[in-house]
Subunit: 183 residues, 2 copies
């Protein structure tokens, strides 16, 4: 639950040297950024996502400007590998976007901040697949239930029916949820 202890970065070109606390660009997070990152790390854990994903999204969420992969990795003090994977995931779920109007050669990222987009991306990627494969499971269960010893059959079939009911409700809940969160 802690959050990465901030061992300050190693190599930083030291011109002008004096930097009070709240920096605006290079490696190391300003307190505000650190707090935002921490908040999203917590959120990530709740929904079962790796910490690095929460860190990355948190940083982009609070950032005033778009950031490149390298900047993200450096500021959060995580490897390029993690940053790459995290950003890939966030792109896939629609939680970040590659910034258009780009001067530099590399991609720059911006957080998508619409709750609807975030939630629906997450639900589609993380929940829907499970609901779908649940269907197969239920079918198998139903078939097995039909062959159960007579004494138990009624009970067991009732349970399977209840599961199917749950499944139906969960399926219908998804779009409702998205609507509730939408705009």
């Amino acid at each position: 639950m802690a959050f990465q202890t901030s061992t300050a970065s190693t190599s930083s070109t030291s011109h002008t040297s004096s930097r009070p606390v709240s920096v605006q660009s290079p490696a190391g997070l300003a307190p505000l950024e650190a707090e935002a990152v921490e908040l999203f790390v917590g959120l990530a854990q709740v929904v079962g996502l790796p910490k690095s994903v929460g860190q990355i999204y948190g940083l982009l969420y609070i950032s005033t400007v778009s950031l490149s992969l390298d900047e993200v990795a450096e500021r959060l003090d995580i490897s390029k590998g993690s940053a790459s994977q995290g950003l890939k995931f966030l792109r896939q779920t629609g939680a970040v976007q590659v910034c258009e109007e780009n001067d530099s050669r590399c991609d720059r990222y911006l957080a998508e901040t619409g709750l609807r987009a975030l939630a629906s991306g997450f639900l589609k990627e993380q929940i829907e697949p499970h609901l779908e494969n649940g269907e197969g499971r239920l079918d198998r269960l139903k078939r097995l239930a039909a062959t159960a010893p007579a004494a138990e059959r009624a009970h067991v079939l009732q349970r399977v029916k209840q599961l199917e009911n749950w499944h139906r409700r969960a399926s219908s809940l998804l779009p409702l949820l998205i609507r509730f969160l939408g705009k």
Copy 2:
């Protein structure tokens, strides 16, 4: 994602010997039970609960009769420790109940099968705490945002306001969800 590979139990008193496949009482799961257990193991993973919790609930869910801690542990081939912890959790969230009308000395368990009870127990235990401590986080963030460099202040305050909005919505969603799933 697999589910415990079923290494059949070691010591079983072998009278009458011939047992085709679908047994009705002692250690080892009947195919129907195994399928139910597997289904709930999957569900457990989705919501971030340990596999053993899914196994235990799955077994109790499909079971026609109440089961004791020892029976649960033996049939699932898990340790008493796991069974104890898993059952404790399930009791706390209201997903299983200690069976009244009890002949034997030990406690016997029955699955609670009302979707509303299950969902609200889960949400209360697993989600609500995070929402509450989120409040503290938001406050801290707000305070930091107020001290941000002027150039960023407006942007940052806007983001914080958005987060507060999300938080409000999530809070109001919880009771709605429970209502939707209820009865």
